[in-house]
């Protein structure tokens, strides 16, 4: 517990964190859904898989948004989620061809 006490408290940074969770969380969820669509089981073509892919967006997005305020600062939230987006979108563009 003593380590916790020394650490600076988490800053709310409402605008930045909420933006990171709501917008970057959504784009990240789309990229992950897209990756699952292309390289997940069965590839892009199985019938009805697109429905599952669509359903996977909201849980990922909401989970990111729900826990985004745990980042130490708003800037960190933006950087981490921005980085994750770059990685996921880069991969998606690569596998989508």
């Amino acid at each position: 517990m003593s380590a916790d006490v020394k650490r600076a408290p988490i800053r709310p940074d409402w605008w930045r964190k909420t933006f990171a969770g709501a917008v970057l969380g959504a784009t990240l969820a789309f990229a992950l859904a897209g990756l699952f669509a292309w390289v997940g089981p069965g590839g892009i073509s199985p019938p009805d898989k697109s429905q599952f892919v669509m359903w996977s967006i909201a849980p990922v997005w909401m989970t990111v948004l729900g826990f985004v305020w745990l980042f130490r600062t708003g800037t960190q939230a933006l950087l981490w989620l921005g980085g994750a987006n770059l990685l996921a979108w880069g991969l998606l563009l690569f596998v989508r061809g």
Binding site: S45, F52, M54, W55, I57, A58
Partner: protein
């Protein structure tokens, strides 16, 4: 479990803001949703007995289908064959004018076809009651009027409320974690009202947490699935097909060559043993893609629709085209998707789960109601020893009045439309046009009453109004049965009697709540928005009122 205070502080703010912004809208959604669990019984209850439920042999039904298709071109676009016939679907064949779209059509005209006493085709035109549809719409939009693009505006607003609801769930659990073991299932009545309401709020929330997580996520998806699909098409799928259309069957489109309906039913029955085939929806029988969507019900399966699963087949050959919505016979992906729908609709265990969801729905409404009570309670100004009664903060006075007016207003408004449905019919008026007027008049009157009289008085008064409206539902049915000359009716099937019985029980519940609320207002601690006692200079026993 220990959680750092800075995290708790942040999530307390998330919980408070999410809850207070979405709470009342979600109350309406949950109350409407609980009623929607029994949409079919409501539909049956409200359908005037213009035609007795028809008992026809399969051969006679085939004759009706052939007669309708020969004489009514509109039916060739789309018609429904009712295999299971009940009060709201008494005839074997029905169809309606125009296409069924996203929006409700209040002028909707429907035709019902059966065989007359002479054995010839008998067709009657009617305007079916949209009451159950409207309650469903109230559930989905919260009663917010207007459209945005091709969708109701309220659906998007409810989607945003679903996001806030999910955030409130996450933050609520984080807030409760440090004291979960101590607080869970501890309901501490007694002097500390805030403690009692917090305990009640926690029990409601934790006991039905999985249900709430499922509902919040599905609400977000149901609200925004068009946008999700469009975005996926734009950035993920692009020229890859996302859906497979039914195969083209070309030059078969002569409606007189359709297979007899009894054979199609038999074909579906063979495909779905253990299911009851309830209806066949024929679509585009003269188009290049003629299909029949057969609805199949079973309480023992997880079905994707609100009440049934589906089998798609070809009406000329009887070939089964698609079983992805038939439990146990879908592919991997449709089998994975079906539970998302079923968990929202409660369509996975017949009436048992329906009643469970009804209770969960009302408990959810109570969760939001108690949340608002806590918000008010937290901002309450206590009376100090030997001091005059303090004025309560203006925002708590307003939120209290709004909570009472909006929540109870939606309850009273919904009940009033049920009562109005039969009385309007008695006076020869067409109810569909009047439902919205009745609902919004009662709803807005209750909201106005809440602000006019204040939360303390309006709480008890509006609860009494809810009780009276609910009582009027079975009373109207009794009057309808006792005095048939009035032009009202009372069905006697168990499902429709259940509507009357449930309304009767709820009337008693509201009356009990009203009595409690009135007692609280009259004799409870005066330093609260829930008291209507006149301000005294210095109360006689100030000590006993401190700290409540």
């Amino acid at each position: 479990m220990k959680i750092r205070s800075d995290i708790l502080r942040i999530y307390q703010a998330v919980h408070t803001w999410g809850g207070i912004c979405a709470g009342m809208l979600l109350f309406i959604g949950f109350f409407g949703g609980a009623l929607t669990m029994f949409k079919a019984p409501l539909e049956r209850w409200v359908s005037a007995p213009l035609l007795p439920v028809q008992q026809l042999a399969p051969g006679q039904v085939d004759k009706v289908v052939a007669g309708v298709l020969a004489a009514y071109p509109a039916a060739r676009e789309e018609f429904t064959l009712h295999v299971a016939r009940q009060e709201h679907t008494p005839a074997p064949v029905s169809w309606q004018a125009g296409e069924s779209g996203h929006e409700l059509d209040f002028g909707l005209v429907r035709w019902q076809a059966t065989l007359g006493a002479d054995g010839e085709l008998a067709v009657r035109q009617e305007q079916p009651s949209l009451l159950a549809e409207l309650i469903d719409m109230l559930h989905r939009t919260g009663g917010i009027p207007g459209t945005l693009g091709e969708e109701y505006l309220g659906i998007y607003v409810m989607g945003v409320a679903g996001v806030l609801y999910f955030l409130a769930l996450v933050s609520g659990v984080i807030l409760l974690l440090p004291t979960l073991v101590k607080d869970f299932f501890a309901l501490r009545p007694g002097k500390n009202r805030k403690r009692f309401w917090l305990d009640a709020h926690n029990i409601l929330g934790i006991a039905s947490l999985p249900f709430h997580i499922v509902i919040s996520l599905t609400v977000v998806v149901f609200a925004f699935h068009d946008q999700f699909y469009d975005s996926l098409r734009a950035v993920v799928y692009r020229d890859q097909p996302m859906f497979t259309p039914p195969p083209i069957h070309g030059a078969l489109g002569d409606a007189s060559k359709l297979l007899p309906a009894s054979q199609l039913v038999e074909r579906v029955q063979r495909q779905a043993p253990g299911f009851e085939v309830t209806e066949l929806l024929y679509m585009g029988v003269e188009s290049p893609r003629p299909i029949v969507r057969a609805a199949v019900a079973s309480p023992r399966h997880v079905v994707q629709g609100a009440e049934t699963g589906f089998v798609i087949l070809q009406p000329y050959t009887g070939e089964i085209l698609n079983t992805s919505m038939l439990p146990g016979q879908g592919n991997t992906w449709s089998t994975l998707v079906a539970p998302f729908f079923a968990l929202h609709f409660g369509s996975y265990g017949g009436d048992t789960v329906r009643w469970l969801y009804f209770v969960f729905g009302l408990a959810g409404a109570a969760l939001f109601y108690t949340g608002n009570l806590l918000w008010v309670e937290k901002r309450r100004k206590n009376q100090l020893r030997q001091q005059p009664l303090p004025a309560q903060p203006r925002k708590t006075v307003l939120i209290g009045a709004a909570t009472v007016g909006v929540c109870l207003g939606s309850v009273a408004g919904t009940g009033a439309t049920l009562v109005a449905a039969k009385w309007l019919h008695a006076f020869g008026a067409h109810a569909n046009d009047a439902y919205l007027t009745v609902y919004y008049t009662v709803f807005l009157a209750c909201v106005g009453w809440g602000f006019l009289r204040g939360a303390a008085r309006a709480g008890a008064e509006l609860l009494r109004a809810c009780a009276l409206v609910a009582l009027a539902i079975p009373v109207t049915s009794v009057i309808g049965a006792a005095v048939p000359a009035l032009g009202m009716w009372a069905h006697t099937s168990p499902a429709t009697l259940g509507v009357d019985a449930t309304a009767f029980v709820m009337a008693g519940l509201f009356w009990w709540c009203a009595a409690r609320a009135a007692r609280r207002a009259a004799t409870g601690p005066a330093d609260s928005i829930w008291s209507h006692q006149p301000a005294q200079a210095v109360p006689a026993e100030p000590a006993s009122r401190v700290g409540t």
